[in-house]
Symmetry: C2
């Protein structure tokens, strides 16, 4: 079995940005398992169809993906790695299709919106056609042999569906990054500078958040992410997402977590993993 490529579950069609992130993290010798939903990614790992899963957790333009934090709390999996990917949109066609033939541009509405100015500048008369998925729009052009259209998707979708890239890096704003997490049933021991992700809740008596920051500041532990999320219908109740530098196995981090446990209502350690540099 160990010679078989590792199965990695991701959400989307073959060629999706999540698959590109998996290849960037694991290398090309993986067996990517496309899943219809984020929940299906977690299920595939829990049930053993995949060794690991990859999920987007925050995007530089769109923010944190709370849905995946919810699933991290619901499933008993652990974070074992992280990888950041620049979301570079490529405008692609079936090989040989000329720009003048592009009457329709197919993609997910978010990708179409992120390329709005480029479309208007280069294809002022093209009709926008919305699809479920960026990679899925390339797949559709290939399967239905659509020669009067172009798709907006990632480089990897162009490779998988054998499309020709007509315009590279077609997005209006290149500062579009997504951070992905690798999830697995068992924790790993970080080998380089480690990062730990936790979720906790507090009732916001004045200064409660300040106290929780103090347990890290007192031990010179750096935070790389802090985010509050209100609990709907519960005024003054918050969940906090926090990432810090260090592994839960290191004594000063262990002490900080024990200290935090004393003052929070709920605390869950989502995992310690190598920090991407």
């Amino acid at each position: 079995m160990s010679n078989q490529p590792k199965v990695v579950a991701f959400q989307g069609e073959r060629g999706a940005y999540s698959e590109a992130a998996a290849v960037s993290y694991f290398g090309r010798n993986i067996n990517p398992l496309p899943c219809a939903s984020f929940e299906a990614v977690f299920e595939a790992v829990v049930q053993g169809q995949a060794r690991q899963g990859i999920i987007p957790i925050e995007n530089s333009l769109a923010g944190s993906i709370h849905r995946n934090y919810d699933l991290l709390l619901r499933y008993n999996l652990t974070i074992v790695g992280e990888v950041q990917l620049r979301v570079a949109h490529q405008l692609m066609v079936l090989p040989g299709v000329a720009p003048a033939n592009v009457q329709r541009i197919y993609s997910h509405p978010q990708a179409l919106a992120q390329c709005e100015r480029s479309i208007t500048a280069h294809f002022p008369h093209a009709e926008r056609v919305t699809t479920y998925d960026t990679a899925g729009s390339a797949k559709m052009l290939r399967e239905q042999n659509i020669t009067a259209g172009a798709a907006i998707a990632g480089q990897r979708a162009a490779e998988i569906y054998d499309m020709e890239i007509l315009r590279r890096d077609f997005e209006d704003n290149p500062e579009n990054y997504t951070r992905f997490l690798i999830i697995a049933p068992e924790p790993v021991a970080p080998r380089s500078e480690a990062k730990t992700s936790i979720v906790f809740s507090m009732r916001n008596a004045p200064g409660a958040l300040f106290k929780s920051m103090a347990v890290f500041a007192l031990r010179d532990i750096d935070l790389t992410k802090i985010e509050s999320r209100p609990w709907q219908g519960k005024r003054w109740q918050y969940m906090f997402y926090l990432d810090f530098i260090g592994s839960q196995e290191q004594p000063h981090c262990r002490n900080a977590l024990n200290n935090l446990q004393e003052i929070t209502g709920f605390l869950r350690i989502l995992g310690s993993y190598d920090r991407e540099v």
Copy 2:
């Protein structure tokens, strides 16, 4: 002029959730101005076509809308109010269309995804058709007289396009809330419990965030939101989004802001406004 309904700019088609939020905040006697993009909402207010604008800033499932924080920093407008709306998706058809006739279901992919289980349960054979906009899908059914399909959009879209609601509250997860901000050229004086939104940046020397929390904790000022956002390409540089209870005109808040200014590289007060209770 004062008898004319106030013009309020929002992003989306007539009947969008942003328009529903505007009606919830201002009442029915407004003149809603649909805009093609968030940027166009800001422009409409800056150029005086609209008195105020309304923008979504965070969603309970999808997180903060960083794009609108970016625009708040770019434009010289101020926040004058907030309103929270439950995103309740309605499945609607042209009047008289029976459930058995629904062969296609039209909506924005996010809305289709949020109703996935309901669609599968009630319309197992329906094809999903993605559109740009939830309200836009209702508009399309009306304009093209599509009787073999249903649209997923908000109650207000049903009213505007005279659609019949076939299934109410069709979403899988009712805990879907969006918080909207009202933006205007001039600040207002809050009349009840106030909230203030700020953005600041810090270089993350260990404990830097802790120090910035201290300026509020020392004055017993409650925080209702804190979120870090990494600056791409600048390791250890962060923007922070913070909301606290109180108005910038109150002395203890003014002192906290002056104190924060001493220790941050960049600080912008986005506005003080009545807190929605």
